[in-house]
Amino acid sequence: MEQKTKINAEDGKQEMVITREFDLPLELLFKAYIEPEIVAQWMGTKVLKLESKKHGGYQFETTDPKGNKYGFNGVIHEFSPNRKITRTFEMENTPFGVQLEIYEFEKLTDDSSRLKMHVVYESVAQRDQVLKLPFAQGINMAHNRLEDMVSKLK
């Protein structure tokens, strides 16, 4: 089966491209990026600020199950409705630096659309670290679950 979400991250480059086709009209896809309450729902985050315009900024805050809070923020450089958003993205208090994100929205048919997300990092090492995050979390989660199971057996 063809994968709906594709990642292209070539070795030794400090960028990656994420593409995804949606069974949604272009306008609805775009709306999911600019309406604060919708962003909050699918990103699973609290939206403290989201100014969808040139010179605008945004600020998100995510709380993990243990109650730890993580902040994300960035500024918007280009905002062109139903077409393009260029913005920066920063995970606060992490060594991952600031990344540049270029979102391109494209109509395929009346009921389908495509998003191309081009992300540029400060260095190759930073990009690779970000790519490995969910992998490392997967391994950690598995270990934690095993520990939980073992401690319940005692």
Partner: protein, 106 residues
């Protein structure tokens, strides 16, 4: 079932990793696999069950014996460290799609 999580649970266990390494070189029966471990046979069977459920192992009936072999395609997916990252975005985008479909029908 969250397959990604299950696969990671599968490879996080040292005995299961050892089983995968063993079977990687050749197809083996459950008995032959168990002979390599000090653990009780039912424990090894349980590990084989988990690895099969996660599609890391496949089994084939050959006469009276069941042979286990590696599912190379799935193994490659796990070895590919980008896959969990892709899966994370895929899950997120699926959520976006579901939410917006409901939004549309409102």
């Amino acid at each position: 079932m969250n397959l990604r999580r299950d696969v990671f649970q599968a490879i996080a266990d040292p005995t299961r990793r050892a089983i995968l390494l063993l079977v990687a070189s050749q197809s083996m029966t459950a008995g032959a696999i168990a002979a390599n471990f000090d653990t009780a046979r039912p424990t090894v069977s349980k590990h084989l069950q988990i690895l099969t459920a996660c599609e890391l192992l496949k089994h084939e009936q050959n006469g009276r014996e069941i042979y286990y072999h590696i599912n190379a395609k799935k193994m490659k997916e796990v070895a590919d460290f980008i896959e969990p990252f892709r899966k994370m975005w895929d899950d997120r985008f699926n959520k976006l799609e579901t939410i917006m479909k409901k939004y549309k029908s409102k």
